[in-house]
Amino acid sequence: MPKFETKEKFLFSLLGREYTDDELEQVFPRAKAELDEHDKENGVFKIELNDTNRPDLWSAMGLARLLKNYEDPQIKEYDFFSSKCFTADNKGRELHVGNRAKEVREFSCGFVASGKTVDEDILLTLIQSQEKLCFNFGRKRKTIAMGIYRNDLIQYPIHYDGADPDKTHFVPLHMEEDLTLCEILEKHPKGQEYGYIIKDKPVYPYLYDNAGKTLSMPPVINSAFVGAVEIGDNNLFVEMSGPILKDILLCASIMAVDMADLGFTIEPVKVIYPYETEFGKEITVPYYFQDSQSCTVQEIKHVLGEDINVEDAKDALLRMGVYSVSEGDTIHITCPEYRNDFLHPVDVVEDVMIGYGLENFEPTIPRDFTVGRLTPAEELGRKVKDIMVGMGFQEMIYNYLGSRREYVDNMHIKGDKVIMISNPMSENFEAVRPSIIPSLLESESVSGHATYPHKIFEVGKVAYLEPSNNSGTVTRNSLGFMSADGSVTFNDANSFINTLMYFLRTEYTLAVPEDDPRFIPGRCADIIVGGKKIGIFGEVHPAVLESWGCGMPAIVAEIDLDCLL
């Protein structure tokens, strides 16, 4: 979940008044926000946002916009947006996209923000917005990268194209050397971090002005000169690039309204593509591209269970910053410029819900009669557990992930049926357990100090490779038990199995197993039910005990309970 930090004073100035922590906790849910931390000493709030589809809320400006409007609904007009029907004056500023951009990172767009001097608060909030939008919404810069530049130094038109990685060069931010694009990927920390996004492409994205000055190599690094925004700057060019046009346009809109809320004047830039895009060859940015969405009062009632009339619904939407008009029972909304999350009428309904106030819905109990029921496996498992407990065993419950060392090496088996993980966090959790027996022996290996005898069991799941299934694997419910002490033998295991099967009313026979290195030869048996092997038990081979570091003789057994259903 995205989190951002903001100074108390900065947030309160945007909200128009001060709030106590209690008051913030009251109003934050309207934005699905949580007060994560309040550093009173430094006057800083840390705020967490839960809605990953609302990147507009991931800044103090966006959060304040919603909360302020909720209490005093006055939807702010932003007059700098172009759209399908209207094109704002770009005053000659253009961004030309070249033909080769397609080969690496297709889209770029930008706008100018001026008339406000960047101070410490503004610089911090811009850097944070950039981080949150590019990291959380832009998938770690893969789909959105953003650069902010000193507009005074730029000579229009700006050019965005795919460039030769070995011949193109500039001095990247935080370095003094002039490096080629290739060298930047190798040497610059940001190159090492984000280089993988473009590394294998024939050309690298390159942004430069008409005088040939480098702005940046998106999504990696700005230039040291034009791309180094500082406190005191008051004329900025904001640019986004990425492979999904709508995402970068939305991101530009969010940045534009945020900066307008901070007091900047937003001046559009016309982006000219050499090919058709879904919004044409020329797009003047910020650009309003969102579709409308509608819902009916019947849908609202159906989902929310409350009779909410058209006017109440429109008022609720207005509190959420969403302008709407009605046509009979149908409500048509205008999606705010900075949002694009109305995929379905239910998305409108949720805004109605929050705008109406969750506290105004009276809980009811579902009326439908249904029969409660456990799975047959759960019912059998409980029977088995009760018998095991009655025979003096302690029930255990284990993790299902472990190491190959535990599941295979220590058990002296081939392990060709073990499901391995291709991206393990560590070798301690690299395999799914194919059997409960290693879990039981792990217990034994860490419990030498516990009073003997040790009689433990688990009813749980195991999973292993099974080529005949769609997934090539199978998950089974299984019983495993172990008894360890100085005098335990095959006969004890045999008695436990016999007693268990008697009370489960299951007829079984024993058979000599095929070679199984887990057991002492001649001291283990297959359990056969209906002609099929459903389990095994016996004395654990001393070589296995030694691998586990166990000093006490032990018997173990495992039964596939799904075979008994």
Binding site: N136, E362, S443
Partner: protein
Amino acid sequence: MDIEVKNFHPLEVKLLRHVSAGEDITADRIVRELDYKIGQCNQSFSWLCAKGCLEETARKTVVTYELTDMGKAQAETGTPAQRIFDLLKGGEPLSLPEIAEKLGLEKSDIGSAYGSLSKAGTCAMNAENKAYVKNDALPADVTETAELLKKGLNGPIDETEMTDREIALMARISKKRGAAGSPYKMNEREEVTYRITETGLAAKDALLKANITGEEIGVLTPQIIASGSWKTASFRPYGLDAPVQRLIPGRHNPYANYIQWVKDKLTSLGFEEFDGPLVENEFWNGDALFMPQFHSARDIHDVYYVKEPRHCREIEEPWLSNVANTHENGGNTGSRGWQYKFDHEFTRRQILRSQGTVPSAHQLTKAKVPGKYFGIVRCFRFDEVDAKHGADFYQTEGIVIGKEANLKDLLGLLKMFAVEVAGATDFKYVPGYFPFTEPSIEIHIKHPVLGWFEMGGSGIFRPEVTKSLGIDEPVLAWGLGIDRMAMMHLGINDIRDLFSPNIDSVRTRRGN
């Protein structure tokens, strides 16, 4: 001081009743007078001292000498020196081997015994190397030794009753250890003298008053029942504050029990349980839940990928086509979809189930309407394992399908969980966000111990989820964070302890 007469063992009782103030109490005396075994006697002394009923007044080392079997034989038939003298005195000179043979003694014994006679001038060797009696009187130490041996026949000799001369002689013929080859064994023991204390006297009075004799029946045996001897006897009562040994019983695991309890709660509320495999694919783990394949919402569900097989063979139709269309353009769900090209290979990529909502999605394809379903299933997350994150853990999720199911029902359901499952005293609802529900609601509860915390997330499944899986009715979906409640219930702070392999800690863990 309070005397609890039940706390005295019969051995203590008899001893206390037997002794009086001022008397010396020794092991000798008790063994003799009460017919105790020495072990029983020492046991009683130690218990009574611990209870403050006896106190030690003196302690000395007592040395006694006791004839060995060999010593007894010599006392009766004479010492080797005596016997050689007697043999030679009445007959011809004999060589040492001849003497050994006639007396039936070892050559080595003959050697040392003859040595002592020869040294005292009693015997000598002639020219033929045969011994004869030279002086007709036995040396004094031979006759004195014989007397000392005879004295031992009356029982062990106390060193304090011996003369200095006897002690000197005894030193030659006794040994402390390995005395089988010597006539005497020397015994050394500590003799402690005790006296009854004020506490002891009070205890004795209490025992007399309670008429406890130490002859009461201890363990009731079948023989006592059969003989009827219990009819005239009384039973020794057991003390209630004696230390008790705890047993190691067969036992359910308290965490598993808690999960079972939650399952029972949910079935009692009309929910039917579902389950599913540990290995899943991207389709069911995310796509079917309308999580776009390349959206950051999938970042919050970082998953473990299965190494082999990397892909399942197929995804069942019509679900695959429905879901793919829904992602691309909304399909028939009334949505505009995510508007990207659905990846049919990625969707088959196999993973370990990362969220409890997955079996809920499966259940939609086979659910009855109306229907209520739940599952408590193991999930896996790609997370650093620490006190708050396990490699695998349980998630509790469920769905409610009904023609009229709506937000207010969802709130009611959450309220029911808060009260019935968590025992919450207060709760509040806040809007939440989940990629597969709209609207989404979290319930925060005030727990009697933990205070306010998020108990669960819920919502109404997006039509993109339900319609693609064949359900036209609204579906309420919910998940409960029972781990936290389980940890509180079990009094543990580290989530890894829920799955502890440590036998000792599991054996002793108790639920609240």
